[in-house]
């Protein structure tokens, strides 16, 4: 049993090494990410000399974001073109998405505030979930597996939250909020300690948002890539030089669908919670 196990393990490892060697000889060593291949990268590999494709590859995330914008536009445009009281398929789907989102947002912010901040939060969710799921389409890549993209979104959230805070609390209220809203003498004495902590907290929030989304999506993509490499290696152990691999990454695709949605939801929920934190308190509790 153990002998057989070892033998299989050795075979797989050898195959994997073989595949890795092959990959390294075929491609340049650094230009082989274990992510699933996308068409921009493939174009770059097919035409290594072309500076255009090289440039496109360097800004691949933006290209995919543009494609995603096209898809979102197409979807919602056709969903809202023949809008009617009795919804058709696309309109019903869009309504379902938006109503579910609105319920979640309103559950945290309350009915009135929820509706007020829903456009920002809703577009955040739709944009992120599209980006996350885009990597699961063959020859496409998740733009959110690049920390630049997630950091940009986090900066958007940061700016929006600070803008909301200043707008809703006023400059004085905003500073008071940053001081931890001291109520008594001890609170005021602790202010020099709390003020930098709260400023730091505000700065850490977008950092954690960006890192969480990037880490999850990139981790998923690497997992899929590794699964695929292993799948190819497993087949290559028996048929050397195979071009078709065993779909070992398939279970992880199902996992990725779920996790992508959850991560998009988490990003949106956290943005919602950050907004709810800077809303005037008595107002917020009144609506709760």
């Amino acid at each position: 049993m153990s002998l057989l196990h070892t033998a299989i393990q050795t075979a797989v490892i050898q195959a994997a090494e073989h595949a890795a060697d092959q990959a390294e000889t075929v491609h340049e060593a650094v230009s082989h990410p274990p992510e699933l291949p996308n068409f921009v990268h493939m174009l770059h590999e097919i035409f290594p000399g072309s500076s255009l494709f090289r440039f496109l590859w360097q800004i691949q995330d933006i290209i995919f974001i543009l494609i995603i914008i096209g898809v979102i536009t197409l979807f919602f445009r056709s969903a809202s073109r023949n809008i009617s009281m009795v919804p058709k398929r696309l309109q019903a789907l869009a309504e379902m998405i938006l109503e579910g989102l609105l319920d979640i947002v309103c559950g945290i912010l309350g009915e009135k505030e929820g509706r007020r901040y829903f456009p920002f939060l809703g577009s955040l969710f739709i944009f992120i979930i599209c980006m996350n799921w885009f990597g699961l389409i063959p020859f496409m890549k998740s733009p959110s597996s690049n920390i630049l993209v997630t950091a940009s979104l986090a900066i958007c959230v940061f700016c929006y939250v600070q803008y909301t805070a200043v707008k809703r609390l006023g400059v004085k209220g905003f500073v008071f909020h940053l001081m931890g809203e001291p109520k008594d003498l001890i609170g005021w004495l602790m202010t020099p300690l709390f003020l930098p902590l709260h400023v730091l907290e505000e700065l850490i929030k977008p950092l954690s948002l960006a890192c969480r989304l990037y880490g999850n999506v990139y981790g998923e993509d690497v997992l899929l890539g590794v699964g695929m490499v292993l799948g190819i290696a497993a087949v290559a152990a028996f048929i050397p030089g195979t071009i078709i691999g065993f779909p070992l990454h398939f279970p992880f695709v199902l996992l990725a669908i779920l996790l992508s949605a959850i991560q998009a939801l988490v990003f949106t929920l956290l943005a919602t919670v950050y907004i709810s934190m800077v809303l005037p308190h008595e107002h917020h509790e009144e609506e709760e």
Binding site: G107, S208, R212, Y214, Y218, Q263, V266, L269
Partner: protein
């Protein structure tokens, strides 16, 4: 056998995963208990649970990212 820096990162990710796994388990089990006790508040509990789970799981992700960056 000597531990090199790379192995230390791997072990670190494993430790982080253990920690957040335990934390997630506790959080989710409590959330499920609460949902079982008050099914009518399931939506709110679930929202809170997802946010909490995101915070917990972020720690492992930070470890993973730091390993990516430094490894």
């Amino acid at each position: 056998m000597q531990l090199d820096a790379q192995a230390a990162y791997h072990i670190g990710i494993g430790l982080a995963a253990i920690g957040s796994g335990v934390g997630l388990g506790m959080a989710v089990s409590r959330a499920m208990e609460a949902m079982g006790r008050q099914p009518e508040a399931a939506g709110r509990i679930q929202t809170g649970m997802i946010i909490g789970a995101a915070f917990i799981e972020a720690l492992t992700i930070y470890a993973l990212i730091s390993s990516f960056i430094r490894g």
